[in-house]
Amino acid sequence: MTDVPMTDVNPSTAKDPATDASTAVVTQPPAAPPTPTPTLPSLPSALSTRTVLLLGVALALAAVNPSHSASRGPAGWLLLVAAVAAAIWAAPAVTRRPTSDTILWISRLIRHRNTAFAVACTVLAAFSDPAIWLTAVDAALLLAYLLAVDAFAAGPIGARQLRGDIAPLASAAASAIVLLGAQAPVNPGAVWGRIVAALAVAAAASAAGAALWLRQTRTGISERDGLIRFDWRRLRDKPRHL
């Protein structure tokens, strides 16, 4: 029997066993069966690996601005083909378990190709000078792609996020609000205007995050949400391996 001793991950936040209620309960007698298995959320039936690939290809095409690229001649067409080829290679969700068994850059790029693809699309979109409608398409496709990849690569957390209403709606709403705000006329000569706008967006994001964090900690999360809890209250004795 192999035991891994219990370790305190964050000593600064570790509570005093004498004053911590959960730790005090641990000293009561014998072990009880663990918590019931949470029901893992299933993926929507419409979502498949092919859907992720199609989203990736569409995102790559939107990022390079096809109408603009086509007008550039052969170089533009070459860019389009390269974008589609890169999307076909990098867009499908990497479901392999992440292990740090190599330090080669090429291996790391292969492992993080979904991230590299999303970042590359962002960079391409930034320099492709898209029309207003195309910016909305870029934002929507990028968000959809990130949610779809999460659903496949982040296990039950990603599937749960996609099944729930809060995350897709809140992120889409945030993108839409910022996009609408970005279309507001800004004095071309005012440099401070951009900084103030960026700070405002950051402040809004921080406020939203803080509010959500407070909501999460106050309302609590239970096994009904598919999360796993080691039920200390059912323990009547401290496990020997702790």
């Binding site: 219990m6 962002t122 391996h241």
Partner: protein, 462 residues
């Protein structure tokens, strides 16, 4: 595991034949497909503490890149690309639910089994707070195949199938605990310990005996007369003979009282000599000579132990190992455990049988030399045994002939010469009084041992 299950016959074909289609969970736990089929090196130690997950890295990279580009290019709409991932990151914040203490305990059952049997490892995780996803990664040891992964609450159950005999490390489990939002993960490493996988004995029930048996009661019919049940002949009556042993047909025919004689029933000593000088793979079938040798040794050992004989073991190659002859059902396990580690220390020095104590190689004991006859040193050992006077039976495990092109005439001639050389080698052993039988590992061992029952195995007299 019981002796009853241990002595079940080894069916045709090896345990490697049964392929199991891995599930998605198994494939994910094994990681790279290359590591799933063969023995895996233990992965490097995981980083301590919590670290970013792929999801957090992906969302934060996109958000930061979009925000930075917005500031650099002055396109405010790029902030919309950052807003979505930023909100997802904010929603994934675990708050105060991230565990601060984690622990794990592994319980493996059984630690000893035979090839083909399942081994279950249960990993109990303990943590405070909440965890959103438990993601195990397994590096199974050699000789083992991960066949199932089940996660039920904080319990991870791994099912391995023992594929190859030996004393193996079961492997290492790196269990990733993801926080509620999947933004950070922490890895708990659990060492699963060692397991002993016993070889499946080859099917064998025949027990050839030497011409001279030791003076010990047993189940084999000896040439000497004694108190057994086998009819051995008649002789004239002598004073003191029992009346019930009078052989009336001979008495009436010869006109004087004749007494029935019975053969004595003796036990024998058998010593299995295992050639562990090397492990050769048959290029055609992929079978390992060492695997087949150990299965043959286990089969012979089991057959003699069933006849209540004493069986010993000497393995040459690498470290010289021996176990002096003994009897009893549990002795099979002792003998098998003696050879479990021969694969680990295959060596290159010639063993000296003089180092084997006399009780481990009794005079007159029948020696089964199980060898592929591929190493010159085993011939020295066999010669040494013959000079000691022990009756020796050579059980050859064929290595498979070299593959040559049918169009290559010179290669065909070379192959023929190679086969003739093998025939000459076998003939020289037979000439020295050591019968050679060939067992390819697939059929029944009894079929190749049956010719030895016609007459006792003769040893070379000193």
């Amino acid at each position: 595991m019981s002796l009853r299950s241990a002595i079940r016959p080894h069916s045709a074909g090896s345990p490697h034949d049964s392929a199991v289609t891995p599930t998605d969970a198994v494939r994910r736990a094994l990681g790279d497909p290359e590591t799933a089929s063969g023995p895996a090196e233990p992965p490097p130690a995981p980083a301590p503490g919590w670290r970013l997950t792929e999801r957090a890295l992906r969302l934060s990279s996109v958000a930061l890149t979009a925000a930075a580009l917005a500031l650099i290019t002055g396109h405010a709409w790029l902030l919309a690309l950052a807003a979505g991932p930023a909100v997802l990151l904010a929603l994934g914040s675990p708050g105060g639910t991230r565990p601060t203490r984690v622990g794990a305990r592994a319980n493996v059952e059984p630690r000893r089994c035979f090839e083909g049997e399942p081994i279950t490892a249960r990993i109990d995780l303990a943590f405070d707070g909440l965890v959103g996803w438990i993601d195990p990664g397994i590096a199974p040891g050699p000789g083992l195949e991960l066949t199932d992964v089940t996660i039920a609450g904080p319990v991870v159950t791994l099912v391995f199938t023992a594929r190859r005999w030996g004393r193996w490390s079961l492997g290492t489990a790196d269990v990733d605990l993801h926080d509620v939002g999947g933004l950070r993960r922490r890895t708990v490493r659990v060492e699963l310990g060692d397991v002993d996988i016993y070889p499946l004995p080859a099917e064998s029930g025949l027990t050839p005996i030497p011409t001279r048996l030791p003076n010990r009661l047993g189940e084999h019919t000896a040439r000497q007369t004694g108190d057994g049940f086998e009819f051995a002949g008649v002789r004239p009556y002598a004073w003191g003979d029992r009346q019930r042993r009078i052989h009336w047909p001979s008495t009436t025919r010869r006109g004087e009282i004749q007494i029935t004689q019975y053969a004595a029933e003796r036990a024998t000593d058998a010593v299995v000599l295992l050639d562990a000088f090397g492990d050769l793979l048959d290029p055609a079938s992929g079978r390992s000579t060492l695997d087949d040798s150990v299965r043959a040794a286990a089969g012979i050992t089991r057959a003699y132990l069933r006849s209540h004989d004493r069986v010993g073991m000497v393995s040459v190659g690498g470290k010289l190992r021996w176990l002096q002859p003994g009897t009893g059902g549990g002795y099979l396990y002792r003998i098998v455990e003696t050879v479990l580690e021969v694969r680990r220390d295959l060596g290159f020095h010639t063993p000296d049988l003089d180092r084997v104590p006399a009780p481990a190689l009794p005079h007159g004991a029948l020696v089964y030399a199980i060898t592929p006859l591929a190493d010159e040193r085993i011939l020295d050992v066999l010669r040494d045994l013959a000079e000691r006077g022990n009756p020796v039976v050579v059980v050859e495990i064929p290595t498979g002939g070299p593959r040559v092109s049918p169009q290559d005439d010179s290669a065909q001639v070379a192959l023929r010469l190679w086969r003739l050389d093998r025939e000459a080698l076998r003939f020289s052993l037979v000439e020295r009084g050591m019968p050679v039988v060939v067992w390819d590992g697939a059929g029944e061992l009894d079929l190749v041992l049956a010719p030895l029952l016609r007459t006792g195995v003769r040893g070379r007299s000193r």
